[in-house]
């Protein structure tokens, strides 16, 4: 069509074609606008509840973390396969390296169970993709690592420093929380978004003063003599949780129960066999055993999923909305974001 324009003598009938097409497009727009509201609602609510077992269960985890130990151990020991082989259900395992890929996987039904922290799960929920927090793997304190000879002793000393953190994680929330508790605002520091691998390089080369991250990354620096750990208080705790896709939770309650049973078995086992457990976690994550040894004690494997968690998560949901991070305020209780155990 483009070559028509430079021609000196206009061939009117042909030249009018784009105009006619444009009018058609505009008409289609006008016709479409009226009906655009109703159809979007139906897209979100997918499928009716068929009680039959799924063919495959898609399990994932976000980045690498020691607090995934119950999952890592059960996976290594083949306990998931053992449990679900009875129904001929296959399992797929996947590691996600960014929060949005998890949101997108949940949104397109490509993930059923994902191990992550409560903040990324809240972000998924805020995107109107229903998920349920049905289990806590562990509760861990907020940790950050600074250079061994740094003058930073407490979070109050973060003022004016360059801080690397993967945004949208529990560590990001924890960081903003400890800053506000120390009377600092996010504007008092420079927060740089860095995934663990990039952050490690930046931290070790002095590109950032503080690296807010979870175990085993903090302990890796400590064990290597390259870092000193700064801890946050109870309100900045991070919960390592299991998020279940809402549709899966509603359709396959039996599979969810059995998945939980496998995790409970692993939790009991790891407390009875800590040394072997640490060795498995070291192997699965690809970290040296001494780093995992150093990371072990901070995990509270018995953190309960109870009413207190609901209100704690609600305050995190408010925080995400008020900070302008997400577009929607999640109502944790109303939306059944936390699936409290019965009884």
């Amino acid at each position: 069509m483009h070559h028509e324009t430079p021609v000196r003598r206009p061939r009117r009938r042909l030249a009018l074609a784009p105009l006619a097409a444009l009018i058609l497009v505009l008409a289609a727009f006008a016709a479409g606008c009226g009906s655009s509201d109703d159809s979007s609602a139906t897209a979100a609510s997918g499928g009716g509840g068929s009680a039959s077992a799924p063919e495959t269960i898609k399990v994932g985890s976000f980045s690498k973390a020691v607090d995934y130990a119950p999952y890592l151990i059960a996976r290594k020991k083949g306990w998931f396969e053992e449990e679900f082989a009875k129904d001929n259900v296959k399992l797929e395992f996947k590691e996600y390296d960014s929060a949005p890929s998890i949101t997108e996987a949940f949104g397109s039904n490509r993930a059923d169970f994902v191990f992550l922290a409560e903040v990324p799960a809240l972000i998924v929920q805020a995107a109107k993709i229903p998920v349920r927090v049905s289990k806590i793997s562990a509760a861990i304190p907020f940790t950050a690592v600074v250079a061994p000879d740094s003058d930073i002793q407490t979070p109050a000393d973060f003022k004016g420093k360059k801080i690397g953190v993967l945004t949208g994680t529990g560590s990001h929330y924890g960081l903003l929380k400890v800053l506000s508790e120390a009377g600092l605002s996010p504007g008092d520091v420079e927060i740089v978004n860095l995934a663990p691998d990039d952050a490690k390089a930046a931290f070790e080369s002095g590109g950032i003063d503080v690296w807010a991250v979870w175990p085993p990354y903090v302990q890796q620096e400590e064990v290597a003599g390259q870092g000193r750990i700064v801890e946050g208080g109870d309100d900045a705790r991070i919960f390592s949780i299991l998020a279940v896709r809402g549709g899966f939770y509603d359709e396959h309650p039996e599979q969810v129960e059995r998945f939980h049973a496998v995790l409970d078995r692993a939790r009991t086992w790891l407390k009875d066999n800590p040394d072997e457990a640490k060795a498995i976690v070291a192997d699965e994550l690809g970290f040296d055993k001494p780093i995992i040894d150093a990371s072990w004690a901070v995990n509270d494997w018995d953190a309960p999923l109870d009413e207190a968690i609901v209100s704690d998560f609600q305050s995190r949901a408010e925080f995400l909305k008020d900070g302008g991070f997400v577009t929607r305020r999640v109502d944790v209780a109303e939306e059944n974001f936390v699936a409290l155990p019965e009884g």
């Binding site: 069509m1 483009h2 028509e4 324009t5 430079p6 206009p10 030249a15 009018l16 784009p18 105009l19 097409a21 444009l22 497009v25 505009l26 289609a28 727009f29 479409g32 009906s35 655009s36 159809s39 979007s40 139906t42 897209a43 979100a44 960014s98 929060a99 949005p100 949101t103 997108e104 949104g107 397109s108 972000i123 998924v124 805020a126 995107a127 109107k128 993709i129 360059k162 690397g164 945004t167 949208g168 420079e190 927060i191 740089v192 978004n193 860095l194 990039d198 390089a201 930046a202 080369s205 002095g206 590109g207 950032i208 995400l320 991070f325 997400v326 577009t327």
Partner: protein
């Protein structure tokens, strides 16, 4: 004298092919006096057709649920959010920061590329010294330098500007050295007859005859710079349009994401148009000056 000048003139138009398809477009609009207004409406319609068609498909796809509306915003939502971000000043802040990084990187890289490219194109010694190294480094995608630059120069403006500078340098280096080398031999002979020195030769003959290719390369480098800017701002950043795209995706703010993408695209287009106009102006001046 007139023969070489003629060939220089023709070099200007023949080598200037990359800018042409686009350059001809404003020319059509720029001569309204020759056309009746219905004709102009038809011309405008043919420009708007494809963008509007794409918008329509996108809008329908979101509305009909073919793509999840929680992850991808509709054009309407994006337009609404555009004005919100504009009012809040967020968009202006991020845009200013991004454009600053882009212009610095592009200017440093292009200038160095032209200087080194000219040196390599004119001097065998310089070519032997520099060319093998540079040509080996060029195939490394500028993006791959990001982790290295962060370690070497830290997380700050410098490493972001440098990524863009590397991309621009590579493009301008290749095209300038090629442009200088493909100068018309007859022109060089004339310069020799007139006993012009090497500097004069470069300034009056080699660089002008390479200018069309240099400008074409600058437009390629500019497009590449936008791509590199967005990548650089995603890796270790807290501001800029690339950061906004990443942050919006990270926290599932699909409208913000589309706005930042659209602004990037439109600014990229604007920078290309401006470079095209500049090229036209500079090359036209060459012609009139020569004539």
């Amino acid at each position: 004298m007139s023969a070489p000048l003629l060939s220089l003139e023709s070099a200007g138009t023949v080598d200037g092919t990359p800018p042409r398809p686009d350059a001809s477009a404003p020319a059509d609009v720029g001569r309204p006096d020759r056309r009746s207004w219905p004709r102009r409406v038809v011309v405008a319609a043919s420009y708007l057709l494809v963008p509007l068609l794409l918008l329509l498909i996108w809008d329908r796809a979101v509305a009909a649920g073919w793509i999840p509306s929680t992850l991808i915003a509709s054009p309407g939502q994006a337009a609404e959010q555009f004005f919100t971000l504009l009012r809040e000043g967020t968009l202006a802040d991020h845009t200013r920061i991004s454009v600053g990084r882009l212009l610095q990187g592009f200017a440093i890289g292009s200038l160095l590329g032209i200087i080194v490219g000219t040196a390599v194109g004119t001097s065998r010694v310089a070519a032997r010294l520099v060319e093998p190294t540079v040509v080996t480094l060029i195939p490394i995608p500028a993006v791959a330098w990001v982790p290295l630059l962060i370690v070497l120069f830290g997380i700050g403006e410098l490493s972001k500007v440098l990524v863009i500078a590397i991309g621009s340098f590579c493009t301008l280096f290749l095209h300038t050295s090629h442009g200088v080398r493909s100068a018309d031999r007859k022109l060089i002979e004339v310069a020799a007859v007139l006993e012009k020195g090497r500097f004069e030769l470069v300034r009056r003959v080699l660089l002008p005859s390479a200018l069309p290719e240099i400008f074409a390369a600058m437009r390629i480098a500019m497009a590449l710079s936008w791509a590199l800017l967005i990548v650089a701002e995603v890796v270790a950043s807290s501001s800029g349009l690339g950061w906004l795209i990443w942050d919006a995706r990270n926290f599932s703010r699909p409208a913000d994401m589309i706005v930042a993408m659209a602004v990037t695209g439109l600014l990229g287009k604007l920078s290309d148009v401006l470079l095209g106009l500049l090229a036209k102006r500079v090359l036209r001046w060459r012609d009139t000056y020569g004539g």
